[in-house]
Amino acid sequence: MPDKQPLVSVNNLKKYFNVGKNLTLKAVDDVTFDIYPGETLGLVGESGCGKSTLGRTLIRLYHATDGEIWYDGMNLTKDLTSRESFQFTRRAQMIFQDPYASLNQRMKVMDIIAEGIDAHHLAADKKEREEMVVELLQTVGLQREHANRYPHEFSGGQRQRIGIARALAVNPDFVIADEPISALDVSIQAQIVNLLQDLQEKRGLTYLFIAHDLSMIKHISDRVGVMYLGSLVELTTADELFTNSLHPYTQALLSAIPLADPNLEKSRKRIVLQGSLPSPINLGSGCRFASRCPQMMEICKEVSPELIEVSPAHFVACHLADR
């Protein structure tokens, strides 16, 4: 897909938080990648590696510390006029992780879904508004009479679908799904993922799919980015990543996936990483993964590896791949 023009282009994006005197938390540090129209980019990494921060910075909930985000020829990191940023809210939307916290308890489903319609004045009158909401409800597999209910009457999966309907109400091109399935039962997870894929086909959506479930990422993504401590360590197509991963961290992650075949599962070797995730506050120079890397070399302690393209569409940030 590299011949196409990217929809979202992220260049050296940094997002730091001040957590005290002279202490900065580098939640996202120097991340570069592109998202092409119509594809799903999966983003994996363990808790606290900056996946959600990255997603929220992309959608302008957080102000980027440094670097650039280009969305369809528009620079999102420079100060947009209020009109520009209002228009951007129609183009990119977000689906949240917690289906219990993402819906206002005091509003009816009708008003929750119609929030975007109201904000952008998409419906001419009350009747049209209602018709739009019912259509959205049916799109996500719910019914007309659900519009007059309150969120607490729904199950987790149903709520997540309401959240999806709300995001779709403004007809976005780009949807950031911030761990949309990690709070749900496994049977419901499949339902939501299938719904997201159907919607992508019908509406030509582009997804940034944030998750920590590797099997799900493999199922839904065209390309996958692996994050570790705020930086992108490997970025390639889903097939390439699962068959030919190059970064030791990716290899360790993949080795943790249980196999469905009991005989293969018996012979599966896990790469168990030593130690725990270092604190992202005031990191020194050198590779971030050096402290836990089973193949650590001298150079890793001093020089932080760049994300380089080792083979077509396969990017990796590791000194091992450099040689």
């Binding site: 929220r56 977000m94 904000a119 019914q143 309150y150 009457e153």
Partner: protein, 308 residues
């Protein structure tokens, strides 16, 4: 049956799952208010309290009208009457009808309490909301101001104010409100700080909803429970503070009556005429206890976490 494979197949039939049926919600659709009311009704003590409060409220509003006596009219031929058909609650040292005075006093006490509670809500909610939404340095300065106010004993402020300002209902209301809003402001600030970073507020921002709508549709409705419950506890404490001020003699002055003034009068003749103390004391105790129980009941009824 040892071997389950021998079971005849015709005993089984294929279960049909209707997809529409699966999404169906059997429970009737209720608004948040209806839902809260249903759960409040299950709490017997709260319902009884509500009933007693309504009764007291009605008496306070209409009681003096039905009485043929005026609360301030003295009658020196009939002082210190015991309760009788003429004077249901007896008369006081100036021959004033105690029944008329008690309900007039209750009216004044409730008026002071409701006015103080309204001022608390107005100042406290505004202050707390601004503090939480502005954040940063503004929030820090506003919180330090609150801490200073909390640090000074409120009774001292109230007494000093009452000495400076002319005696009257307005003075008591202002004196109590000057420190009373602090609690409300803190609760509202904490609630809005919590809500501000919740996902549904983030979703509203991403959808392009403007700040005014976010405050009115998301933040305030979700703070309502805290405001209502805190008010339920503010009202009895305001009644009590007023009664206390009147009792120590810096509240309302004769011939006006409040529950505190009546109790003070009754206390002075407690040995010979205990009924002058007992009736207003019963009314004030009922008001305090009922508001507390109702407040507890409302807290349980309005808390979405208690929802079954």
């Amino acid at each position: 049956m040892e071997n389950y494979q021998d079971l005849p197949l015709d005993l089984f039939e294929k279960a049909e799952v209707n997809l529409d049926e699966k999404e169906h919600i059997a429970k009737p659709s209720l608004t948040a208010f209806q839902d809260g009311w249903i759960r409040l009704k299950k709490n017997k003590a709260a319902v009884v309290s509500l009933f007693i409060l309504i009764l007291i409220f009605l008496f306070a509003v209409f009681g003096p009208i039905f009485s043929s006596y005026d609360y301030a009219k003295t009658d020196y031929h009939h002082t210190f009457q015991l309760p009788s058909r003429e004077h249901i609650f007896g008369t006081d040292q100036f021959g004033r009808d105690q029944f008329a005075r008690i309900w007039y006093g209750t009216r004044i006490s409730l008026l002071i309490a409701f006015a103080a509670a309204c001022l608390d809500i107005f100042v406290g909610v505004t202050y707390g909301a601004v503090s939480a939404l502005a954040g940063g340095k503004v929030d820090a300065v506003m919180q330090r101001i609150i801490e200073i106010l909390v640090g000074i004993p409120s009774l001292i402020i109230i007494i000093l104010l009452m000495m400076v300002m002319p005696a009257g209902i307005g003075t008591i209301i202002i004196a109590m409100s000057i420190t009373g809003w602090v609690n409300m402001a803190r609760l509202v600030r904490a609630q809005i700080l919590k809500l501000k970073s919740q996902e549904f507020v983030l979703a509203a921002r991403i959808l392009g909803t403007n700040s005014r709508k976010i405050i009115l549709k998301h933040l305030i409705p979700n703070t309502m429970g805290v405001i209502v419950i805190n008010t339920m506890f503010t009202i009895p404490s305001a009644i009590f503070t007023e009664a206390f001020l009147s009792f120590i003699g810096i509240g309302l002055s004769e011939p006006r009556a409040s529950l505190g003034v009546l109790i003070n009068n009754g206390y002075q003749v407690l040995h010979n005429f205990p009924h002058l103390l007992i009736y207003p004391a019963i009314v004030i105790v009922l008001i305090m206890v009922c508001f507390s129980i109702l407040g507890d009941g409302l807290r349980d009824a309005l808390d979405p976490r208690m929802r079954k």
